[in-house]
Symmetry: D2
Subunit: 301 residues, 4 copies
């Protein structure tokens, strides 16, 4: 198929490549002269402006956004939509909040432009392994995009699906990431327990490798754990600092809104917040309180 | 190799079969006349007593225990050890607490009998897929058992390993189960959130299938989740009641002993306790307290 | 002082009484003929409409809202504000979300009407003990209301204060309630542990009474715990079902927005959600998963 | 009454003083010449050895231990018991594990020596306010000690009680401390949330003072919070490092043994563990994993 792409970064670049492999034609916005050249070399048709991008595509057009969630998506949609015509499709393949997606979809519908959300998992391994894709939007429009999803997925009939109306794709991807937080934290804790059991002097990389075959905890995240421990068995030089990109928070908020207790996903998020707060006021207060009632010494800093 | 087995249940039976496939000779204790016949039909050499079991094996003998953790192991070891001779090996393939393992190992060492702990993961799928095995014990003795581990594992050089001294195998298996608790709970919560999002009317089985290929949360537990949702999409007739077999508790206790905060594994355990307490006194007290200070109505039962 | 009140329920009624005791004049909206009479008997000046309420007060007027948070506040403010004149003050004494308060304050400011948020704690005991009041709003306006706060508080110089600009009062009250959730849950858990220790057959009411004097955990909530256990030592007939009124959720959301890990307040909230979900889909899925990998029996329902 | 005391530290010293005020006679073991003099000045009868201590008391003797839980109690009991005669009473006023208490009690019973556990709360404020005391042991023996408990408690009929057989006092004190952990953490979190809400620039000391009168969260711990914030509003120089003395862990372990989910008490403990682990291996692994699957940058250290 013929599609335009905006966002040729860590996710978008490899996705374009995977599409090219299957014979799709990808026109992409280049952010610089250098980028322009690089895209050209990879077989992408580079353009320098949104206008050019739109002009290079025949209606009904498909424009795929692979950009950071938030204001950037609104800005791009605002600039792009006046250039499009009724029947065109914008696909948001990023990690947008599903409520934003619903709002955007509704607003574009007024102009006859379709908005499809495509929750995309797979990270930097997607080029090689294919992406897992959860699609939200109108039935007919999603069907029109089928060849693209079939190329991006690990196999035409595997790893992707149309899960519901507008927003459902991003919602599902959000929950996916919430689960990911919980799983990562479970592995992290388990390996930390083993690490602290000096008595057995366990080789954590060996343990991860053993578990990769036949165990109940085998998973792709475990494969990556083994890879990380193989490269750096003591995780030397890595700060105990864990970023979060938003989807975990949204999952926690959504769970509470739905009256669903999700303690493990929630605690996995709080753990990340905590990893970045080396001056916990709460902990200081506990130290002060113990001193107040029990005369316990406070550690100074 | 030639080995005796005690415990031909849900785990032990299939393990024996897997060993037979590779040409090992398995002599097993039959609990009844019926069991005796069944074992015979499967190619196992059945015996009616521990004495017979020991007599059928040539020293240095290998006796593999695949029985429930706890008193049963002590009882069996107590009855078995007087029949054995120095140089014989007892393997505990069950989910024993590693501290019990260390105690038993030490006590048997006094008689020259070796005790090896073989933490075994893989559940009812082990016959087909092979088992993931974490082995603790003396180097030379574990080496002697190598052909057995190579047959039980998914491949001779995969899914098993000698991780440390006596107890290290069961310790590692314990942590494995703790991680398993956390992962299961993460999936459970995620699917519950999606289930409660009536707005999108998601097909949970479809979502699980999509995630199986290419996603960050792909895992064997997810494969089983998809299988469970395929059979029973609404989990009809299943009580929200989750048993626990001990290893989760031990992991939590161990983490605290080691001063490692493991909130996700811990909460996953507490969730199970809670699933079995439909008359929470704590919740009742909160309802009573809200009534005391705020005049809020208490729900009656 | 002279003030109007809207909302003569479980909180508003006793507050009016406390104000009357100190010689303030309270005009209140009566919801029915019966209510009208009852207010009259208590010394309140009853009125039948917002118009009457406003007419009975001399500018600059003070109108105190003591109504449920949410739409009711917006509706009342919308109906009330056209009747007021610049310089008048509306006080929201309820549990509104501080963001709504900021929005309302800003919108009323355009008309010269002041909006003061008065987070009020003390529950049904406030008439007797006085209320703890956290006030947000403009310095001069709050100062004007001083005689009211001094009457409502346990003592003129105790238990109340102007904590910051518009919204700060409700924000502080929100956090107060979050802490309350955590404290209640801590007591609930502790008493549940003692309850389950059959071996000691503890008299929980006795323990609560002992702790009320001299212990580190003494508190007003403990006094109420003792009262509840005195009336109903086994909490017979009370369902293990705990409602939540919103402020706990807002506290959890706010903590996450601020990147503050608040695991105890958060878990206290999740516990309440859980207390109301007797058909946990998550728990069912765990039971199904244990069956899938381990052949463990599922409890039926 | 006439009693001997061993342990004249932060808790024991003030307790002796409180007993002296009521006319009891206290004989205490002095650890040094200096201590000997100081005790004498306070009106305590100092002795230099356990033998002297025992000799100064008339049978049936009462010896009160106020020493750190653990080996010190066993050592002291072992040295003391041969010097005592049947009918004498040892009281353990410290924070011993109730299982140790039961073991000691049983072992001393064989010699006719009574062992009473006296869980003591009140910290360094007990001298002034009286102590809250939970007593375990035989009915008659506890009754014999009544005058002592009546003097130590805030009032003769308040703040103390005989809660059950041997061990019940320490068990109850253990749960008390578990609740204390949860409450402290709830306050800590709440104040941290307010601290991070820069927008309102709240005066945390003022808020604590407001809550002390009339609010639902008023408590003695809140009084101490206010005191701590009054002395050091920004908690400057206090490390975010919180010690734990054992009773929290025991409460968590006990809850799990009893199948009681106590998430708030448990998380409060984990929070303390975490406060002391600035090199969290778990967090490092999460950072490494995010890099593996998403190419996210790892913060270096």
């Amino acid at each position: 198929m013929d599609l335009g792409m905006i966002g040729m970064g860590r996710m978008g670049g490899p996705m374009a490549q995977r599409l090219l492999r299957d014979g799709h034609r990808v026109t992409a916005l280049a952010r610089s002269r250098d980028a322009f050249k690089q895209l050209e070399e990879k077989g992408v048709v580079p353009v320098e402006s949104l206008e050019d991008l739109v002009n290079k595509l025949k209606p009904p057009r498909i424009v795929w956004l692979m950009i950071p969630a938030g204001a950037a998506v609104d800005d791009t949609v605002d600039m792009l939509s006046p250039l499009l015509t009724a029947g065109d499709v914008i696909v948001d393949g990023g990690n947008s909040n599903y409520k934003d997606t619903q709002r955007r979809s509704q607003s574009l519908a007024a102009k006859g432009i379709h908005f499809v959300d495509s929750g995309t998992s797979g990270g930097v391994w997607g080029l090689e392994n294919g992406y897992s894709i959860m699609v939200g939007g109108e039935e007919g429009v999603v069907e029109r995009l089928r060849p693209i999803f079939e190329s991006l997925a690990p196999a035409p009939d595997k790893g992707w699906g149309h899960v519901g109306p507008s927003g459902a794709g991003h919602f599902t991807k959000m929950v996916h990431n919430g689960i990911e937080y919980g799983m990562m934290q479970a592995y992290g804790e388990g390996f930390a327990i083993m690490r602290h059991k000096k008595e057995f002097n366990l080789d954590l990389h060996q343990v991860a490798e053993i578990w990769r075959d036949g165990s109940v905890v085998q998973s792709w995240l475990l494969d990556l754990t083994a890879a990380a421990l193989s490269e750096n068995p003591d995780l030397v030089g890595i700060a105990p600092y864990v970023a979060d990109s938003g989807e975990g928070r949204w999952t926690v908020a959504e769970a509470i809104d739905l009256n669903v207790a999700a303690p493990v996903i929630t605690l996995a998020l709080l753990q990340r917040l905590q990893s970045r707060d080396s001056e916990s006021f709460s902990n200081k207060m506990l130290s002060a309180l113990r001193n107040q009632f029990g005369g316990h010494e406070m550690k100074k800093q």
